[in-house]
C-alpha cells in the first residue's frame, strides 16, 4: 500500500504525457458538446419555421418568401382579407374562444370532482371508471371523433352537429387532464391534512372545501390552462363535429383553406392569433402557478414541467 502511495505522484506530471492520456481516455467531466449541439439544432428546427410563419403574417405583400415590409394589414388593415374584416376569419376566432371557454368551464370542475371521487371511493366501479378515463386519454382522437359523430347523428340526434356537439366532445376528450393531474396531486398530498381539518372540527365536506381544494388549486389551475390550450389547438374532434361555417373554429378554417381558398398571410395571421391564445394561457398559467405554489419551495423547472402536464 505504501508503495502505491509513493508511485501515485510520479505517474501524474508532465503536461505532454497527460494530453496523450486525454486522447485515449477523454476527460470524464468534459461537456457533451455533440449532444448539446444536436439539442440546439433540434430547437432551431422546431421553432424557426413557426417564427418565420409568424413573421410573414406581418408581411406587407402576399408573398410568404419575400419580405415586403411590416404591416398589420392581414390582421386589421385589409377590408377584404384581414382577420378583423373577413367574416369567416373573425367568426372562427370567436368560435375558438367560445369553445375553449365553455370546454374549460365544464371540463375542469367535473374532472376535479371525478379525480377526488374516484380516489376516495375505492371500489370496483371506481376502478373501472378510472380505466375508462385513462383509455380516453390514449385512444386516437380520430376514433373518438368518428364515434361521437355517429352518436350525435344517429342516436342523440337532438344534439346534432354544431357547437353543442363540439363542446360535448371536447370535454370528454380533455377530461383526463384535470382527472390525471389532480389525482396525482391528491396522492402526493396524502390524507393527513384532511384528517387534521376534521380533527380540528371540520366536517368531511368542510375539510374538502377549506383544506383540500386550496391545496389542489395549483393542479386545478394547471389543468385548466392545459384544457384551454388544447381546446384552442384541437382539430380532429371539432372538424368532425362542426356543421356550418359558423361553427368552424380557427384550426378547421386553416385546414380547409391551406390548399386554395383564403390562402396567404391572412391564414398566418389567424394561426398567429391561435398561437397567441395558447401562449398567453401558458404564460399566465405559469405565473399563477408559481404564485399559488409559492409556499412550497418549488423550482421554476418543476413548475414548468407541472404546467406542461408532465
Amino acid at each position: 500500500m505504501a508503495v502505491e502511495l509513493d508511485e501515485a505522484p510520479a505517474a501524474a506530471p508532465q503536461p505532454g504525457a497527460s494530453r496523450r492520456v486525454g486522447l485515449l481516455r477523454p476527460n470524464p467531466w468534459r461537456r457533451p458538446w455533440l449532444m448539446e449541439g444536436f439539442t440546439w439544432l433540434y430547437i432551431v428546427w422546431s421553432i424557426v419555421p413557426i417564427a418565420i410563419a409568424v413573421l410573414f403574417s406581418f408581411n406587407k405583400g402576399a408573398s410568404q418568401s419575400t419580405w415586403q415590409g411590416f404591416s398589420t394589414k392581414w390582421y386589421i388593415g385589409s377590408s377584404v382579407n384581414s382577420v378583423l374584416h373577413n367574416t369567416a376569419l373573425h367568426q372562427a376566432v370567436v368560435q375558438t374562444l367560445v369553445l375553449a371557454v365553455l370546454t374549460t368551464v365544464i371540463c375542469v370542475p367535473i374532472g376535479v370532482g371525478f379525480a377526488i371521487g374516484i380516489d376516495r371511493w375505492r371500489s370496483r366501479a371506481a376502478m373501472s371508471l378510472n380505466f375508462v378515463m385513462i383509455f380516453s386519454f390514449v385512444i386516437p382522437e380520430l376514433l373518438l371523433a368518428v364515434a361521437l359523430f355517429m352518436l350525435v347523428t344517429q342516436a342523440l340526434t337532438f344534439i346534432g352537429l354544431g357547437t353543442e356537439a363540439e363542446v360535448a366532445g371536447l370535454v370528454v376528450w380533455n377530461l383526463s387532464w384535470p382527472a390525471v393531474i389532480v389525482r396525482a396531486r391528491l396522492v402526493s398530498i396524502g390524507r393527513s391534512y384532511e384528517e387534521a381539518a376534521t380533527d380540528l372540527g371540520a366536517s368531511r365536506l368542510g375539510a374538502i372545501r377549506r383544506v383540500l381544494l386550496p391545496m389542489l388549486m395549483p393542479a386545478v389551475f394547471a389543468s385548466a390552462v392545459l384544457v384551454f390550450a388544447s381546446t384552442v389547438d384541437d382539430f380532429v374532434i371539432v372538424e368532425q363535429l362542426s356543421s356550418t361555417a359558423s361553427t368552424q373554429p380557427m384550426s378547421v378554417l386553416i385546414y380547409a383553406n391551406v390548399h386554395g381558398g383564403l390562402s396567404g398571410p391572412a391564414l398566418n395571421a389567424l394561426a398567429t392569433i391561435m398561437l397567441l391564445f395558447s401562449l398567453v394561457a401558458a404564460v399566465l398559467g405559469l405565473i399563477a402557478y408559481r404564485w399559488m405554489t409559492r409556499g412550497e419551495r418549488q423550482s421554476s423547472v418543476e413548475a414548468l414541467t407541472n404546467i406542461a402536464g408532465m
Binding site: S192, E195, A196, S203, G206, P214
Partner: protein, 381 residues
C-alpha cells in the same frame, strides 16, 4: 370542558390483512401523560387513530369521560391531534393555522385572536404569526402544530410521534419542554412513540405494545426496572438476556437457583418461583467486572471482547465461559480502564439485579432482531 379521562375497553381493529389492535383495555387518568411505546407495526398508531376518530374500531369501546365515542366523527370529539408530519396547512399563516379549529367551535372573533396569541405564547412562537409553515424550522413547525391543537382546549391531546422528524439534539430539548408544558396545561396527553427514551423521560405511565397487545403497563421506573418479560426488557434499553435452567435443588427464601451451563447463580428479582427453562435479564449498568482472581458467589469467568467508548460511559462487551455475550456499562470518571481486548475477568451478576423472566417461547436473539432498528436509533441518539 371535560376532564380528559380515557378508557379503552377490549378495543379491536381488523384490517384486510389481519389484526392491528387485538382487544386492548386500558385506563388513562385525567391530566396524565400517558405513552404507548412499541416498534413500528405494534398497533400503537392505530390505537391513537381510533381515539382520534380516523379509524372506526372493529369492536370494543372508547370511553371519553364515560361516554362511548367510538362511532363519533373526529370533528365531534373533544380530542385533538399533533400529527407526525404536523399537517400544517401550507396556504395559511401560522396565526391562521392556529385559529383554524376555532371557526368550528363558535368562539367569538375577539376571543379568537386573544386565544391564538396565548397559544403561540405558550409554545414560544410570539412574533411569527404572519409566517407561513414552510418559512419555519422543523422545531417551530412542531410548536405550531401543538399550539393549533391546544388552542381548542381539548380534553385529551393525542401526539403521534411528534418529535420523530427532528434531529437528536432538538428532540432532547423538546422532550423536556413538552413534559413541562403538559404539567402547565394539565391536559391529558396520549403520546405514541417508538423511542424508549422519549417515553421514559416524559410519561407518568406508559404501555409497551407488541403485535396489537399491551405487554406491560406501568410507570417508567416500573417498566424499566421490572420488565414483565424478555420482550419488554430488551425493548427498553439494552438488556443482557440469557437462557437458563431453574435448578431443582432446594431454593433459599425469596430467591431462585439457576443453572447457566456449568455455573450456578442466584436471582432475587422477577418470577423466582418459575421452573424449567427461563430467561435471565440484567441491565448492563448492573454488571460489574472484577479481576479474574477475585472469584465469588454469582460471579462467572469471562473475557473482554471489545470496548466501545460512548462518551459518558464505556460499553464493555464480554463473553462468558459458557459462550454467552454480555454487555457491561462503566461510567467514565476520568481514570483509565484496566481492561483491553482479551483481558480475562470475573463478571459479577448481583442476585438482586438478576431477573428471572418467563420464557416467551422465542429466543432472545429473535427479539433482538425485531427491535434492532430501534436499538440502533437509541444508540445513535
Amino acid at each position: 370542558m371535560s376532564e380528559g379521562h380515557v378508557e379503552l375497553v377490549s378495543l379491536t381493529k381488523h384490517f384486510d390483512g389481519g389484526v392491528a389492535v387485538d382487544g386492548i383495555s386500558l385506563e388513562i387518568r385525567a391530566g396524565e401523560f400517558f405513552s404507548l411505546l412499541g416498534p413500528s407495526g405494534c398497533g400503537k398508531t392505530t390505537t391513537l387513530r381510533m381515539v382520534a376518530g380516523f379509524e372506526a374500531p372493529t369492536s370494543g369501546k372508547i370511553l371519553l369521560d364515560g361516554v362511548d365515542v367510538g362511532a363519533w366523527a373526529p370533528n365531534r370529539r373533544s380530542v385533538n391531534t399533533v400529527f407526525q408530519n404536523y399537517a400544517l396547512f401550507p396556504f395559511l399563516t401560522v396565526a391562521e393555522n392556529v385559529a383554524f379549529g376555532m371557526k368550528y367551535k363558535a368562539v367569538p372573533k375577539s376571543e379568537r385572536d386573544q386565544r391564538v396569541a396565548e397559544a403561540l405564547e405558550l409554545v414560544q412562537l410570539t412574533g411569527l404569526e404572519k409566517r407561513r409553515p414552510n418559512q419555519l424550522s422543523g422545531g417551530q413547525q412542531q410548536r405550531v402544530a401543538l399550539a393549533r391543537a391546544l388552542v381548542l382546549r381539548p380534553s385529551v391531546l393525542l401526539l403521534d410521534e411528534p418529535l420523530g422528524a427532528l434531529d437528536a439534539k432538538l428532540r432532547r430539548s423538546l422532550q423536556v419542554e413538552l413534559g413541562a408544558l403538559q404539567k402547565r396545561v394539565g391536559i391529558t396527553f396520549l403520546y405514541v412513540t417508538h423511542d424508549q427514551e422519549e417515553a421514559l423521560t416524559m410519561s407518568d405511565r406508559l404501555a409497551v405494545m407488541n403485535k396489537g397487545n399491551i405487554v406491560q403497563l406501568g410507570t417508567p421506573a416500573d417498566v424499566y426496572n421490572e420488565p414483565a418479560d424478555a420482550y419488554v426488557a430488551d425493548f427498553l434499553g439494552v438488556s443482557n438476556l440469557m437462557d437458563a435452567q431453574v435448578d431443582s435443588g432446594a431454593p433459599g427464601q425469596g430467591c431462585c437457583r439457576l443453572r447457566l451451563g456449568e455455573f450456578l447463580l442466584e436471582a432475587r428479582a422477577g418470577t423466582i418461583d418459575a421452573s424449567g427453562g427461563v430467561k435471565l435479564a440484567i441491565r448492563p449498568e448492573r454488571v460489574h467486572l472484577h479481576p479474574y482472581e477475585e472469584a465469588g458467589p454469582n460471579r462467572l469467568p469471562g473475557m473482554v471482547e471489545q470496548l466501545v467508548f460512548i462518551g459518558s460511559t464505556t460499553h464493555i462487551h464480554v463473553r462468558l465461559a459458557t459462550g454467552v455475550a454480555l454487555q457491561a456499562l462503566v461510567r467514565n470518571d476520568g481514570s483509565t480502564l484496566p481492561y483491553s481486548q482479551g483481558t480475562a475477568v470475573n463478571i459479577a451478576l448481583p442476585a438482586d439485579a438478576l431477573r428471572v423472566l418467563p420464557d416467551p417461547g422465542v429466543s432472545a436473539a429473535e427479539i433482538r432482531d425485531e427491535t434492532h432498528g430501534d436499538q440502533l436509533l437509541n444508540l445513535t441518539s
